[in-house]
């Protein structure tokens, strides 16, 4: 396993016992037209929850918004302002009780 694969697995592990109040609607959306211009795709390696994944077979960014930790880093790091970054709906999203 290379470092990136190891990290992906590590994040999955860490997310596995987190509590969320599921949000039925995506609170993060990307503008695929902008993403196609983006060569470095920093969202895919910066997110501490591994929410963004680039699928080269379909040329799209998959957004697993359900895993979001609501930190905001993807929005700051996106060079094309492509992410429509909102909070999950009232009461939805991550629930931290030990942090």
């Amino acid at each position: 396993m290379n470092n990136k694969e190891k990290n992906k697995k590590s994040i999955q592990d860490k997310l596995s016992n987190l509590k969320y109040n599921a949000n039925s609607e995506a609170h993060l959306k990307v503008d695929i037209k902008k993403c196609l211009k983006c060569t470095s795709k920093p969202c895919t390696f910066i997110c501490p929850a591994g929410v963004y994944e680039y699928r080269d077979d379909i040329n799209e960014i998959l957004v697993q918004y359900e895993n979001c930790l609501e930190c905001g880093a993807c929005k700051v790091v996106c060079p094309y302002n492509s992410i429509d970054w909102q909070y999950p709906k009232s009461g939805c999203g991550i629930i931290l009780k030990n942090s």
């Binding site: 860490k14 390696f45 942090s99």
Partner: protein, 442 residues
């Protein structure tokens, strides 16, 4: 314009700054509504781990006694990590009463109960979607369901503050203005923590550790990585986290969790967390543009407090104290605005004036260049000096049958040989300037 106000003041966000603002308004016998998007208090929030009693006491007076903390912090360590170990400076004061560890869920839960006892009207589970603006003046807020009106709105919505951005008080952050941090909460039993950190068993002792240094083999090859690791002892958990500049992470294509996993295996840290079971993982940003990136702090009918205003000292991991006191001051300004029936930007400039007289803008000003200076020397701080300290201590502690004075001489000459004297000079100037900034600050 005739508006039917629902309250005198609306506060958005129930972190320390919002709760403090609400309490300070309620103490003036005005009607204040505190709105929070999360279902449970503090359940969107994370931090390193300690709150400072002086700020809490200034806000709550005797009521501070009602708060149940986890452990008193009696030992502060600053450490430099190198490849195989660390150089640590510890200040221990068992009489100290200045900081306590407490989880955010517990901190916010208790503060909100106290706020309610002062008459604050708390509305959880409610996301504020936007501000209601009329004639260039904020007159209320809009949730998913309805609008609430008040002559004063206080934005305490944290580092991401979408609301102050929408109002154009604040610009988007750039990656270099942000530290991204990830943390694990590790469960151990109470006795193990006490034995490991040499603490009494009555929760009157605890440790806070802050580590610099990134020269580990797993991180070699990454450039100019400025990172800080922190560790706090709680009652039966340890918080271990790391923060790094978002621009450095991005340029190095590095994920903060990768660094966290590497830190966990460092020979000076692994034994401290051994056996800890991870019960939570969290991530949060720290705004560190500081004084230079401060948003406009007020406008007609509105003020910005806490992290939303970038009030934080990331060198010392202080934030809740800035949040609490800026909230308190904004609350007082709201009371004065109500008394004068004047909610104009002009009148609310009082808020900035009061902040300037407090430690908040004084500290922010004194530290305005420090982060930049430390960054500009990040290789020295994170790699060169930790290694030199290691070499020096190998001489002092290693009885290796070579004359000490010969070793010291060699060490001294190597200091100048291993590093371009110009770089050494730049280091010296940068560190001296940091010291002068603080010494001659406001």
């Amino acid at each position: 314009m005739d508006i039917n106000y629902n309250a005198d003041v609306i506060v958005v966000g129930a972190g320390p700054s919002g709760i403090a603002a609400a309490i300070s308004v309620a103490k003036g016998a005005k009607k204040v509504v505190l709105i929070e998007r999360s279902q449970y208090p503090g359940s969107k929030n994370m931090y390193g781990g300690a709150v400072y009693t002086s700020a809490l006491r200034e806000l709550l007076g005797q009521d501070i006694e009602k708060i149940k903390f986890e452990r008193k912090i009696t030992s502060h360590t600053y450490a430099f990590l190198n490849e195989t170990g660390s150089f640590e400076l510890t200040y221990q004061n068992n009489e100290s009463n200045s900081a306590y560890t407490i989880k955010r869920f517990n901190l916010e839960s208790q503060l909100i109960e106290i706020a309610k006892s002062y008459g604050v009207y708390y509305i959880p589970n409610t996301l504020v979607k936007s501000l209601v603006v009329e004639n260039d003046r904020v007159i209320g807020i809009e949730t998913e369901l309805e609008k609430y009106y008040a002559p004063v709105t206080i934005l305490a919505d944290g580092v991401n503050s979408l609301l102050s951005q929408n109002l154009k008080l604040k610009q988007d952050y750039k990656p270099k203005d942000i530290i991204l941090s990830a943390k694990e909460t590790l469960k151990l039993d109470k006795q193990t923590i006490e034995k490991r950190f040499n603490l009494k068993d009555d929760l009157t002792q605890g440790v806070a550790k802050q580590y610099f240094g990134s020269d580990f083999k797993e991180l070699k090859g990454y450039k100019n990585l400025f990172m800080m690791t922190f560790l706090y002892t709680f009652k039966d958990t340890i918080m271990l986290g790391v923060g790094a500049n978002l621009d450095d992470l991005s340029k190095n294509k590095l994920n903060i969790n990768e660094i966290l996993d590497i830190i966990k295996t460092h020979p000076s840290i692994a034994p401290l967390i051994e056996g800890g079971e991870r019960i939570e993982y969290s991530a949060h940003m720290i705004p560190e543009g500081g004084y230079k990136k401060m948003p406009k702090l007020y406008s007609n009918g509105v003020m910005v407090v806490g992290d939303a205003a970038g009030f934080i000292n990331s060198v010392h991991f202080e934030g809740t104290n800035f949040a609490l006191i800026s909230g308190k001051i904004a609350g007082q300004c709201a009371l004065e605005a109500l008394a004068n029936n004047n909610f104009s930007s002009n009148f609310l400039s009082l808020y900035r004036k009061k902040l300037e007289k407090s430690f908040i803008l004084k500290d922010l000003y004194s530290y305005r260049n420090i982060i930049e200076r430390l960054y500009s020397r990040s290789n020295s701080l994170n790699i060169y000096y930790p290694n030199k300290i290691k070499e020096l201590f190998e001489i002092i502690t290693g009885a290796n049958c070579v004359s000490k004075s010969k070793q010291f001489r060699e060490f001294f000459f190597k200091l100048f040989k291993d590093r371009n004297p110009i770089e050494l000079f730049k280091d010296a100037i940068a560190f001296l300037r940091c010291a002068l900034d603080v010494f001659f600050g406001k």
